[in-house]
């Protein structure tokens, strides 16, 4: 039985529409607010949510998401609390949810135990930024047995051999890292994106979501023109950090609407 991810991309594809994939760090600034932020993202047109589980040593993240992880941890966010947040989101929405984090908190919780709990609360898949496919055997087994998706990343440095290997372990979609570097906004979309997407299409029919450094509607249009999904993280997280609480949900909804409109414009 497929998760919510494949049907989501199928229906978008039927409309010739790229997905807007939004990342937020769960528990930043606190668990209740995360639930409302996700609702605002969905109202604005986000199609899929990456829910970040904060980690103490986020080596793949730039300063914006690093600070969000620190805030979320300071607010007492644990894996268990992120599962609660997901359950609350799921009570109100059928938007696909992917847990996005580093390996150690997941390993500590236990692969089988977490996969079973994730299924129970309505999570659809996992993405662990520091888990290479070479080391992923038992993790992939646990997640697949629970009927959930495993999303892995490819990068501009990935050789063809690696693209093939990573695609083999992926389900749901493939996360395409747009450039070498950590998460964070950039003034331009990397020139690596189009050739990397093209290379990867030779190895998989899965939808491709492109992320890292995308923050404006114009950039979303550029990416939407070549990929199946546009991932935006740091600019939402920065807005969560800097927007007064009274304006936060409207701001997030408006940002999502602009980005989604931009992504769609890339197809026209």
């Amino acid at each position: 039985m497929p998760t919510r991810i494949a049907p989501c991309f199928d229906s978008l594809r039927a409309n010739n529409e790229p997905a807007l994939i939004a990342y937020v760090t769960a528990g930043d600034p606190d668990p209740e607010t995360t639930v409302e932020i996700v609702a605002a993202l969905e109202r604005g047109g986000a199609d899929l949510i990456e829910l970040g589980v904060p980690f103490s040593d986020p080596i793949a993240d730039g300063p914006v998401i690093m600070r969000a992880s620190e805030r979320a941890l300071a607010a007492g966010t644990t894996v268990e609390k992120v599962l609660d947040i997901a359950a609350q989101i799921r009570q109100r929405s059928q938007i696909p949810l992917v847990l996005f984090t580093y390996l150690n908190p997941v390993m500590r919780y236990g692969f089988d135990r977490l996969a079973a709990r994730a299924k129970q609360v309505g999570i659809d898949g996992f993405l662990l930024t520091d888990l290479s496919v070479e080391e992923a055997g038992s993790f992939v087994d646990a997640v697949k047995s629970a009927g959930l998706d495993t999303v892995f990343l490819v990068a501009p440095t990935s050789t063809d051999h690696r693209l093939q290997l990573v695609a083999k372990y992926c389900s749901g979609f493939v996360y395409v890292v747009s450039r070498t570097g950590v998460t964070g906004e950039q003034s331009q979309v990397s020139a690596s994106v189009a050739p990397l997407v093209e290379r990867l299409r030779g190895f998989t029919d899965l939808p491709l979501g492109v992320g890292f450094g995308i923050s404006t509607a114009a950039q979303a249009a550029q990416v939407g023109a070549v990929a199946d999904g546009v991932v935006v993280g740091s600019s939402f997280v920065r807005a969560i950090e800097s927007t007064p609480p009274a304006d936060l949900f409207d701001t997030i909804e408006r940002m999502a609407r602009d980005l989604k409109r931009g992504a769609k414009a890339g197809r026209s």
């Binding site: 040593d57 440095t157 070498t180």
Partner: protein
Amino acid sequence: MLSSMPDAGGHFGPYGGRYVPEVLMAPLDELEQAYRKVQADPDFQAELAGLLKNYAGRPTPLYYAKRLSEKLGGAKIYFKREDLLHTGAHKINNALGQALLARNMGKRRIIAETGAGQHGVATATACALLGLGCRVYMGEEDMRRQRLNVFRMRLLGAEVFGVTNGSRTLKDAISEAMRDWVTNVDNTYYLLGSALGAHPYPMMVRDFHRCIGDEAREQILLAEGRLPDAAIACVGGGSNAIGLFQAFIGDPGVHLIGVEAGGKGKATGEHAARFSGGAPGVLHGAYSYLLQDNDGQVALTHSVSAGLDYALIGPQHAYLHDQGRAEYVDCDDATALAAAVELSRVEGLIPALESAHAVAEAIARAPRLPGHVLLVNLSGRGDKDIDIYRENLKELDADSHSPMF
């Protein structure tokens, strides 16, 4: 075979491996291939051997500590004198090896992390020697504790980049160096300073340090006509220890003893004793014993010695521990400081705070072991730690006439 580890994927039993973002996977393959190539390249090996001999000062002596041994009245204690090397510690072995490798790979920009500053100084030195650009990441808390080494690096032409994230110590410096590497991987070589991180680093760093044990083995055979009963070294990431142990892994009669930082005492939670306080986990690219909380967040560590103040132990040590081939103990701050004072006064050797942990273990064991030979790696000298010794030995600083211990 314990001595032929790791496997093709960089595993020591279940430990080690390659747990990094995908961006780094192909570059790590490339690094491993380049390393295997220079291993078999006689020109490279001759150049490295020449630098180790004429520039760094190898082979280092093996010194019989007669006064200390006689005072303790048990085992004979020998020190492998890595403290006599250029820049003051064993770290230069690995820094020279990797810097030459970087130059061979055509990488002109070197980045490194440092805790106490010894690896940073060694890297800055190797880069000055080879004309390579050098940036060293160092936690701001460590920069404060090790001001002298910060200036030494700057004098050598390196850029010291203060890290303000997290606990502002070694762990955060490594994270920041990895972020730099992920971003600039095309033109940058990451010169990692301990037997940690993703494959091939634990293997490569060990290999560049195995001269410590290889030399000591020959030297002790010459001095005593037999192998030592025990080989003792301090373990932060574990580079000096694995460099010593590797030569003896195949000798079951040699007891291998690693000494971790007990900090303020294990009951306080402020320590870096991974085997008694940690559980297997992943940090900075490797799977090994890790100090962490119940939710998988990396714990804050403490040691008076910045070089032992790290949450994960090198993966080969984890394997040697599980196999029962090596024993790991810990030594608290106060005991290490007392051992440093004892060694200074009885032998005229002021050890680095890290090495003082290994000295303390030898001092504790020797009286019970008459007829035994203990080989201790004196991995570094104490020049860099004089400020910390002064801070922690205030009575000694205030009154030169009263005995301290």
